[in-house]
């Protein structure tokens, strides 16, 4: 059991900066998820911690111990790889026992731990098989099992679910969450899938272009993204962004996006004051746009006129792709909505949930 600390960690590959001045403290027993688009440096950050890459600058600590020069095998960590990296010529049992055998664990102890891990993951019946005789999900379990038997201080997961089909991914997601609850160990998990991050993490570190963007709990990330990247990355379908400027009209402030304008709620006025008659970016999530006929009570709604471009019925909801002037609006509305393609309609923006961003720095305006 241990905390993990990145202090000013930088990793360069030749001229490319993969990780740029990363500062991060991961608490003991935390489930931290690194999330970001592919190539953003999240996997590199994990591999630096594992010792598979050397740090260019900065310090990595596990607990209180600086591990920069500690070889991977002595860092007391276990890693689950995207490709599973099972040893193809060994049985499942030998795959699980390999690390323990190398550490000269007594035979009885190896057997006990392998059995225990196999039970946790429900792979007792597969111990005699070779990896090629297993399905993708079973291989995934074996890979996790190989980490469990080591009883490490920190578990590292490098996109472990991305090779599974959608259904299995959801099932394994829940299982890994359960596993974290059961083992009470530090988990560090890398994924490009914000859904995985939202569902499993105690805290999420959003990374882009080697830089840490925001580190917080899933709910805070969702509600108050610190910049446009985080706002656009977290949540599906992604947040709508509209270029506009702030207009003062009769003592009230509006965000004018050309084809439509939306009033600012009272509590946002002070923050938006400096942007009067200056460009600003309005962000609103698809789920904060409603069909006016089914607006839930207590919502501070602003109506916007637009044209229906595409509708997608999902059963429990409908995705609307709307056009207002140059803007495309994605909305996630009540399934009773009966808009047709080409209809001129009105939708309601929940202005209490709107986000404002500075167009130059892309930072949130609060």
């Amino acid at each position: 059991m241990a905390s993990v600390t990145y202090e000013h960690v930088t990793k360069e590959f030749g001229n490319v900066i993969a990780v740029n001045d990363l500062n991060l403290h991961i608490e003991d027993k935390e489930f931290l998820v690194f999330v970001g688009p592919s190539g953003c440096g999240k996997t590199t950050a994990l591999r630096l911690l594992a010792g598979l890459e050397e740090v260019t600058k900065g310090i990595i600590k596990i607990g209180d111990r600086i591990v920069n020069d500690v070889p991977p095998k002595d860092r007391d960590i276990a890693m689950v790889f995207q490709s599973y990296a099972l040893y193809p010529h060994m049985t499942v049992y030998d795959n699980l026992a390999f690390g323990l055998k190398l550490r000269k664990t007594p035979k009885e102890e190896i057997k006990r731990r392998v059995q225990e891990a196999a039970e946790i993951l429900g792979i007792q019946d597969l111990l005699g098989r070779k990896p090629r005789q297993l399905s993708g999900g079973q291989r995934q379990r074996v890979a996790v099992g190989r980490a469990i038997v080591r009883e490490p201080k920190v578990f590292l997961f490098d996109e472990p679910l991305s090779n599974l089909d959608a259904k299995l991914r959801i099932a394994m997601r829940a299982e890994i969450s359960k596993l974290h609850h059961r083992l009470q160990t530090t988990f560090i998990y890398v994924t490009h899938d914000q859904m995985e991050a939202m569902t499993m993490a105690t805290r999420i570190a959003v990374i882009n272009k080697g830089m840490l963007q925001q580190l917080d709990t899933p709910q805070v990330l969702y509600d108050t993204p610190i910049n446009m990247f985080v706002a656009g990355f977290i949540g599906a379908p992604a947040m709508n962004f509209f270029k506009g400027h702030v207009r003062k009209d009769g003592g009230k402030l509006f965000v004018d996006c050309g084809a439509f304008s939306v009033p600012l709620p009272a509590e946002r006025v002070r923050a938006a004051q400096p942007y009067v008659d200056r460009p600003i970016i309005l962000g609103i999530r698809p789920e904060d746009i409603f069909n006016p006929a089914f607006v839930p009570p207590g919502i501070n709604a602003a109506k916007v006129a637009c044209k229906v471009d595409v509708t997608e019925l999902m059963g429990n909801e409908i995705f609307l792709y709307l056009v207002a002037g140059d803007n495309t609006i994605v909305a996630r509305v009540d399934p009773r909505t009966d808009f047709r393609i080409g209809d001129q309609v009105q939708v309601s923006f929940n202005i209490d949930k709107m986000h404002l961003f500075d167009p130059d720095s892309e930072l949130a305006v609060r």
Binding site: A50, Q82, A85, F98
Partner: protein, 404 residues
């Protein structure tokens, strides 16, 4: 369309099949000829081609006997008890055809001996007919043994390195002095220095370490080139691959001189080192590509599991590269086994099979039968290796071109 697919496939594959069949025939016919020749007796090899063994064999005089005598004496000659032609005692009374003619001209039971058909009246013509009959009668009665069609004596001659005018086994039976001076006529002859038996042993001693050593070194080097980070890795590897173009012949003189100076000339150790050196560049190249093709994550996972480079090599690389090692081993073994030049230059004191075959050549070309046997002995092991490992053989052929 459906019912024709089978036929379509047949015609589509026809050129391939024809090519394969042609290649098989082209390879098999000379090999078969060599094999049959190696089993034929010395006289037969000298007088007729190997393909004549497929004709039904007719004994000398058999046709004439059937024409003139078989109607009364029977096909086996024992139909008339009073004149049993299969009895050597009866036949030995007529060693020549004129004696037989005299007897046949006498009347038998108040009538001519030969009636249907009658012998030619002219004496010389009659003798010409009777001469093969006499030979045949001698074969029939067992005075002359029937000529052997196949024999293993050539192999015995080749194994001991016999160069006399009959064959080794006959010489030993008859106690020919010149043969006894060289041979003991017991099992120890199999290791006489001029024979293929000794050469076989020499070749094994030469070939096995010459195969194992380069593979061991190549596997270790290939692991380092693939998975260990050290300065100049790419350059050293490029240099090694480049070494493949150095022709072996260029180094014969310098290395022969060096070997004389350090006392390795004519030793097995010398030739092991030579073959190892010349096998390594290609072996490293092939092994590096194979080991480098293994997924990186497997090694990273092993390092996290506590493996160092040595355990990763033994527990992961060796088992996973077994197919590459096998095909490499087969190629190196066959090349070393069939090598003549290197063995001739560096190991003339312990002749290997290829060298020994040339030693057996008679300057007048009189011992084809022994050469064919010797040739067959020298490629028994390559044949066994090839058929036992042909799966790996094909993989090895592909290893250079297609990334595994």
């Amino acid at each position: 369309m459906k019912p024709l697919t089978g036929l379509n496939r047949f015609f589509r594959n026809l050129p391939t099949h024809l090519a394969i069949v042609t290649m098989c025939v082209l390879w098999i016919i000379p090999t078969l000829g060599l094999f049959i020749t190696s089993l034929r007796p010395r006289e037969a090899v000298r007088t007729s081609g190997w393909w004549t063994v497929f004709r039904p064999q007719v004994q000398v005089g058999e046709t004439e006997y059937r024409t003139y005598c078989a109607s009364c004496h029977g096909v086996d000659g024992d139909a008339i008890a009073a004149a049993d032609l299969s009895d050597p005692a009866v036949v030995s009374a007529y060693p020549r055809s004129n004696r037989l003619l005299t007897m046949l001209r006498r009347d038998l039971e108040s009538g001519p001996h030969l009636v249907d058909p009658p012998l030619p009246a002219e004496p010389n013509a009659a003798l010409e007919v009777l001469s093969p009959i006499v030979t045949y009668l001698q074969t029939l009665s067992g005075i002359n043994p029937e000529a052997e069609r196949f024999t293993l004596r050539n192999y015995a001659d080749a194994l001991v390195g016999y160069k006399g005018s009959q064959d080794y086994l006959t010489d030993c039976e008859q106690g020919v002095v010149s043969t006894l001076a060289k041979f003991d006529c017991d099992a120890s002859d199999l290791l006489k220095p001029e024979g293929m038996g000794r050469a076989f042993v020499n070749t094994l001693i030469m070939a096995i370490p010459s195969t194992i050593l380069p593979i061991v070194f190549a596997a270790l080097a290939a692991y380092a080139f693939a998975w260990m980070d050290f300065k100049g890795r790419q350059w050293i590897f490029a240099l090694l691959v480049g070494l493949q173009i150095v022709p072996l012949q260029m180094t014969l003189v310098p290395i022969a001189r060096l070997y004389v100076q350090i006392g390795l000339a004519g030793t097995f150790l010398g030739i092991w080192l030579f073959h190892t050196g010349f096998g390594l560049p290609y072996a490293i190249y092939l092994m590096r590509n194979f080991i480098g093709g293994l997924p990186r994550e497997i090694f990273e996972s092993a390092y996290l599991d506590g493996a160092n480079h040595w355990t990763a090599f033994c527990k992961l690389v060796l088992p996973l590269t077994l197919p590459a090692i096998a095909s490499l081993g087969i190629f190196q073994f066959l090349w070393v086994w069939n090598d003549f030049l290197v063995a001739k230059v560096f190991l003339s004191t312990h002749p290997v099979l290829t060298v020994q075959v040339t030693n057996l050549i008679d300057p007048r070309g009189a011992n084809w039968h022994i050469l064919t046997g010797a040739a067959f002995l020298s490629f028994i092991i390559p044949m066994i290796v090839f058929f036992a490992f042909q799966r790996y053989f094909v993989r090895g052929l592909l290893a250079g071109s297609v990334k595994g």
